[in-house]
Symmetry: C2
Subunit: 137 residues, 2 copies
DNA sequence: CTTGCACCTCTAGTGACTAGAGCAATTATA
DNA sequence: TATAATTGCTCTAGTCACTAGAGGTGCAAG
């Protein structure tokens, strides 16, 4: 049996975040002590660690809600799980592509700047005129 | 002289976003027609395009506010401008590094999944147990 | 018994918009 | 000129995933 603080230390999820997850229905309401404090069973730690890890991998809370529902039905096909994970992978790849283009553009902008006065600043100039860009972004 | 709709089409910034920029002081209040509609001078288009382009490159509105202030003082050194841009570049690089680690982890997870039932699903398993990860994230 | 930390609820704030309601003004068509 | 369609106006509230803070209560150690 765990207080919310111990659960927090165990999982690395902050206390207000745990309460927030309860509020949005991602965690079910735990029992309370006589004084009204939350008392968690050990198993909640697993669930919360799952959530945390999935968040770290960039899954949205909605995705996680779905994954948790699916993981509660062990006999079902895991195709739906893979589907969510694949979608997430595609999203990550898209973001990488985009960020790489941005990086190129930023570096080019900075490399070209002779760094004198603002009136001749290449950074300001490029920001004001998209046609000076080579990459799509 | 432009209505807000024409300014929007000219710059690719949505109408409510233009009003929002005015609200937070990124654009100054334009004159109004007799009926109370906003009338913009052509020059505002430049400023708005600047903002849009900087947003596309991932600058925050606070950064942009600073860049706009700096660009209004053409005789000053552009070191401060470069500083902001460099900070932004570092941020982008950090995000790419992180996302690349995530991608590796996601792909590994998906590759290992034999895709049968949820009970044997590698995706669910890895999400529940961080120690199964190789990459930092 | 008291000190001090951990916990409680509730509200509001973050960033950068977006959506919608309920109107008014302007422009195009008949 | 009348009407219809489009565009504009303000204001409020919602998005996501929390985070911060106020003002109070519970609980365990010394």
């Amino acid at each position: 049996m765990l207080t919310i603080g111990k659960l927090s230390r165990l999982t690395g999820v902050k206390v207000p975040t745990i309460r927030y997850y309860e509020q949005i229905g991602l965690l079910s309401c735990p029992e309370r002590s006589e004084g009204g404090q939350r008392i968690y069973e050990m198993a909640v730690g697993q669930r919360l660690s799952f959530i945390r890890h999935a968040r770290e991998l960039g899954f949205s809370l909605d995705d996680i809600r779905e994954l948790l529902t699916l993981s509660d039905e062990p006999d079902q096909s895991c195709a739906a799980v893979d589907e969510i994970a694949k979608r997430q992978l595609v999203e990550i790849e898209k973001r990488i592509t985009r960020l790489t283009a941005l990086k190129t553009e930023m570096r080019r902008m900075l490399d070209q700047c002779a760094c004198q006065t603002v009136s001749t600043c290449r950074v300001i100039e490029v920001l004001g005129d998209h046609t000076l860009c080579t990459d799509d972004h």
